[in-house]
């Protein structure tokens, strides 16, 4: 992390005047010295106030960090005397913000239809360091990178904005994106995928039962005829392999088999059933396996109804996002009770929409929260400016009645929950990752600027140092 920061500085340096080089080198050396010495030592951030999001807001709080995780947050907390102390007594601390829905700096293929086996991890090219740096500057420490496309375009990747260049993810599978409502055939397509997955589950179950029966029979046979044991033993070893048929047929030449012969083999040995790659994720969803969730994305309120109709009879873990920019009909979500009540997680754009054909605004986020939903916000766009603006936009929503604690959660904890990472990220609490953003004012004050970002006990952004460098 530190090296990247140095890289940043070095890049900036090339553009600067040569007379500044010496001063800069000195300053970077100082920085490396302090941070490298840290090792496993404790780091303590002394703040004016800690907005923990998960719990209380604590004045004059100290945040104790060890091994990249938060050890304690409180007014009077103990820490070893040799701890590294970051003096931020004039700053307010908040957890790093999380953008759960972005396609920043991507050149991903535009997937259509069911490509749910596609992992963003495989083709992710991390954006330039400067982009990451700008995002850190805006207070964002984690990004949920979505696969590009429509239908079931793939599984998302969660990357930190300060990680290694290879874009190692915090989470790289299990977040299946489903877009709904743009092309008209999506409804049938989704229904088709779910039905196929259901069939696959059934077939798998049948195959399993059959295999078990056969195995039992063979055991009995084996008990009676110990000579045949060797042949039978081979088969369980082959499980998972493609050339299972060969054991029985004893025809190695049939391996590049033509289609008809393959079919025959399948009929003969159904226990070697394998789920198609693109159906694996839907099957997991329908089995309600842990760690897989559908991130469903709607364009209009009407799509929610269409979606409910499309998945009629199927149940799986879902989280929702409204991706429309116009917000022209989202009041129907509340008016017709489309999502309310259930503890649904809904991601919205931080806007104050108006009733159709009027100038009457309504606070969609607040209404949804009052109906029992968990609401989070994501930037309007992938550009850095929107990441910087989001606190201001959310501040406007708080003026229109959104509770402060809900607003703060919507920027940090709820996006973490959306990405299934609420145990590791999203608030300043014990055992969570030490992503701390330090501002010179209240987080919901649009005039407050991010002054410092501390990740895992290391300062990855410091406005003061940077401005000194620029000069």
């Amino acid at each position: 992390m530190n090296s990247i920061y140095l890289g940043q500085v070095a890049k900036r340096l090339t553009a600067a005047r040569t007379t500044l080089v010496a001063a800069l080198i000195v300053s970077t050396f100082v920085l490396t010295a302090t941070v490298q010495a840290a090792g496993d030592r404790y780091t303590v951030i002394k703040t004016k106030k800690a907005v923990t999001v998960g719990g209380e807001e604590i004045d004059d709080a100290s945040i104790v960090i060890v091994d990249g995780k938060i050890e304690a947050v409180g007014k009077n907390v103990d820490y070893p005397s040799d701890s590294i102390v970051i003096d931020a007594t004039k700053l307010t601390a908040m957890p790093g913000m999380i953008n759960p829905r972005t396609m920043i700096g991507q050149q991903l293929p535009n997937n259509r239809g069911n490509k749910s086996n596609f992992l963003v991890k495989d083709e992710f090219e991390p954006p330039e360091d400067e982009t990451y740096h700008d995002l850190l500057k805006a207070g964002y420490t984690l990004l949920g990178v979505l696969p590009n496309g429509s239908g079931l375009p793939g599984q998302a990747l969660v990357v930190p904005t300060h990680g290694s260049k290879a874009g190692e993810g915090v989470r790289d599978e299990g977040l299946v994106r489903i877009t709904f409502g743009r092309p008209p055939n999506e409804k049938d397509a989704l229904r088709g995928v779910l039905k196929e997955a259901e069939k696959a589950i059934k077939a798998e179950k049948e195959a399993k039962e059959k295999a078990e029966k056969e195995a039992e029979e063979k055991k009995k046979e084996a008990a009676s005829k110990p000579k045949e044991e060797k042949k039978d033993q081979k088969k369980p070893d082959d499980k998972g392999g493609k050339d299972k048929g060969d054991g029985k047929d004893k025809k190695p030449t049939s391996q590049p088999a033509s289609k008809p012969s393959e079919k025959k083999e399948e009929k003969k040995e159904e226990k070697k059933f394998e789920i198609k790659d693109e159906l694996k994720a839907p099957v997991k969803l329908l089995k309600m396996e842990e760690g897989i969730v559908a991130l469903v994305e709607f364009a209009r309120a009407s799509d929610v109804l269409h979606f409910v109709e499309a998945i009629d009879g199927f149940e799986f873990a879902q989280r929702y996002a409204f991706a429309s920019r116009g917000y022209d009909d989202l009041h129907n979500i509340i008016e017709h009770d489309l999502i309310g009540g259930a503890d649904a997680t809904v991601m919205l754009k931080p806007l104050l929409p108006q009733m159709p054909l009027t100038v009457n605004p309504y606070n969609l986020a607040r209404e949804l929260i009052e109906e029992g939903c968990t609401v989070g916000f994501y930037p309007l766009d992938d550009n850095v400016r929107e990441h910087e603006l989001i606190r201001e936009r959310v501040a406007l929503l708080t003026r229109a009645g959104l509770k402060r604690e809900d607003a703060l959660k919507a920027l940090t904890l709820v996006p973490a929950q959306y990405l299934g990472l609420e145990k590791q990220y999203g608030s300043l609490e014990k055992e969570k990752a030490a992503d701390v953003v330090l501002l010179d004012g209240d987080p919901l004050d649009p005039f407050a600027k991010v002054q410092m970002v501390v990740v895992g006990g290391k300062v990855v952004f410091d406005r003061a140092t940077e401005e000194k460098d620029k000069r």
Binding site: G54, E57, I58, I311, A317, H336, A342, Y362, E405, K409
Partner: protein, 507 residues
């Protein structure tokens, strides 16, 4: 909107609890003090609750019906087999059984038959179950008393645009669109858009489709198009004759019979569908020469023909009538006469009336096919009944004018087996008005689609305040959830809280 109030109260209680927790909690970093909303389990299925709570308008499919415990109507109407209820399998205890809606009072304009008074219309699961003066209502029937009102079949909007989505409408319709809502305010319950017909019901996605592939669109404007159409008809007719002969020969045992070239049918698919009577032809034609030619073609080749436009139809009404042509006219459409002709030409206010007199099936649709919120009002689909009323001005009998926007329109679309009139066994699509449909004073009070009330004038802000319905003088706010009582926060004491949102202590 009762549930909103419940949520509000629940929200208040929750807020009180949350603040209580906040006061009690010691300032520690223990994550167990998290707010309850956030500490939900990861990757937990979140659907179960939601489905139950789906809008009350969400109509159950046919499969949901049939709970033995609820009482069935004791007097089964003639059209419904009495043993149907018994033959249904016992369903899950969650099912509520069939949805019943009874409309009592009012004058029922059945369109297909006589007008009825003092009758009750009983709808079961979106279909009209019984009409009569002594209909017994099962337990749990929702009763809508419409005494003093007029009950018409839901209006059928032919050739509409922008109300339901592209084909297939059940997948693409934006059921919350303003145009759809306005269509319901006009009493429109069925919309045909190009080649598909679907229900227009605000906020409902179930049971939308009526029929796809209604028409074969035929272009008959330019000379080349006319020639092409004629040629393809001729080819297909020859092909069908050949096929007939071939089959005959084969049946007689002639093995040398040559099978006709199937590519003819593929290449001239439109004509093939027409001559096979799989669909009717929809042709846009205004001029009398075109109308005559088309009528002759329809007689000659024997296909179903629906002509959209036909503003010069009054000149050749006899020929159209003899050919059994259906027309979709716009009585208010003006077409100038051709000054170079020494014959009659141009439009005529009597067009619909003359066509009707000559036995042509007349359906009416406005010339502006969408619902527009700009430009000159009163000429779009929202004023479909006014368009029919204009034909009455030109001499069309009033019942025929009502039929032209209901049953005749359904016939033109080939969906008159399900919509267009108030009959037992047809879909429960009704437009309930406070006066005769074609009167300018009349407003639609309720619109019912598939047995669900999708529009209630007193509940929506569009027209509720105009001549308010008796007993509903107080106009209900459409969007009752906004504005909520909005309490501006007290200015924080100096040194406490920020400018934006402030801290909770300030309260």
């Amino acid at each position: 909107m009762k549930h909103l109030l419940t949520y509000f109260i629940a929200g208040l209680i929750f807020a009180m609890l949350a603040s209580g927790v906040a006061v009690q909690a010691a300032p520690t970093t223990d994550p167990s003090n998290d707010d309850e909303v956030v500490t939900t389990q990861p990757d937990k299925p979140e659907k179960k609750e939601r489905k139950k709570r789906r809008g009350k308008r969400g109509r159950k499919g046919k499969k949901d019906k049939g709970d033995e415990s609820t009482s069935q109507p004791t007097s089964q109407p003639s059209s419904q087999p009495a043993d149907e209820a018994e033959s249904q399998p016992a369903s899950e205890p969650e099912d509520k059984g069939p949805d019943y809606l009874a409309i009592t009072g009012g004058i029922v304009h059945t369109v297909s038959g006589a007008d009825l008074r003092h009758v009750t219309i009983l709808c079961k699961d979106g279909v009209i179950e019984a009409i009569g003066s002594q209909v017994e209502m099962p337990e749990g029937t929702e009763v809508l008393d419409v005494s003093g009102m007029h009950i018409y079949p839901g209006l059928v909007a032919c050739e509409a645009r922008g109300i339901v989505g592209r084909e297939p409408a059940e997948n693409t319709t934006n059921v919350f669109s303003t145009t759809l809502r306005l269509a319901n305010t006009a009493g429109i319950t069925t919309v045909s858009s190009r080649t598909s017909a679907a229900k227009a019901s605000y906020g409902v996605v179930e049971n939308l489709p009526l029929r796809n592939e209604l028409f074969v669109s035929v272009r008959y404007g330019r000379t080349a198009e006319q020639r092409e159409f004629r040629e393809s008809l001729e080819k297909v007719r020859q092909y069908l004759r050949d096929v007939e002969q071939y089959e005959k020969a084969k049946a007689e045992g002639d093995e040398d019979a040559e099978k006709p070239d199937e590519s003819v049918a593929k290449e001239n698919q439109a004509a093939y569908k027409l001559l096979k009577k799989e669909a009717a032809a929809l042709v846009y034609a205004e001029e009398k020469t075109q109308l005559i030619e088309l009528a002759d073609l329809a007689t000659q080749y024997g296909f179903d023909l629906v002509i959209r436009g036909a503003s010069e139809g009054w000149i050749v009404a006899d020929r159209l009538g003899r050919a059994g042509v259906k027309v979709i006219v716009s009585p208010r459409r003006q077409v100038g006469a051709n000054p170079y002709l020494v014959q009659e030409s141009g439009n005529n206010i009597e067009n619909a009336a003359i066509l009707y007199q000559h036995g042509v099936d007349v359906a009416v649709t406005p010339s502006s096919s969408g619902i527009s919120l700009v430009g000159l009002g009163g000429r779009d689909m929202q004023h479909l009944a006014m368009e029919a009323a204009y034909a009455v001005r030109g001499g069309l009998p009033e019942p025929a004018a009502i039929e032209s926007v209901t049953l005749a329109a359904a016939r033109a679309l080939g969906i008159d087996d399900r919509v267009g009139s108030i009959e037992v066994g047809k879909d429960a699509d009704l437009a309930i008005t406070d006066g005769p449909l074609l009167d300018f004073f009349t407003q639609v009070q309720w619109t019912i689609v598939n047995g669900e009330i999708v529009y209630d004038k007193a509940q929506e802000s569009f027209f509720a305040h105009i001549r308010p319905r008796e007993g509903t003088e107080e106009v209900k706010e459409t969007y009752s959830f906004w504005p909520r009582p909005f309490k501006p926060k007290a200015a924080p004491a100096p040194g406490e809280g920020g400018r934006y949102g402030g801290s909770e202590k300030a309260e």
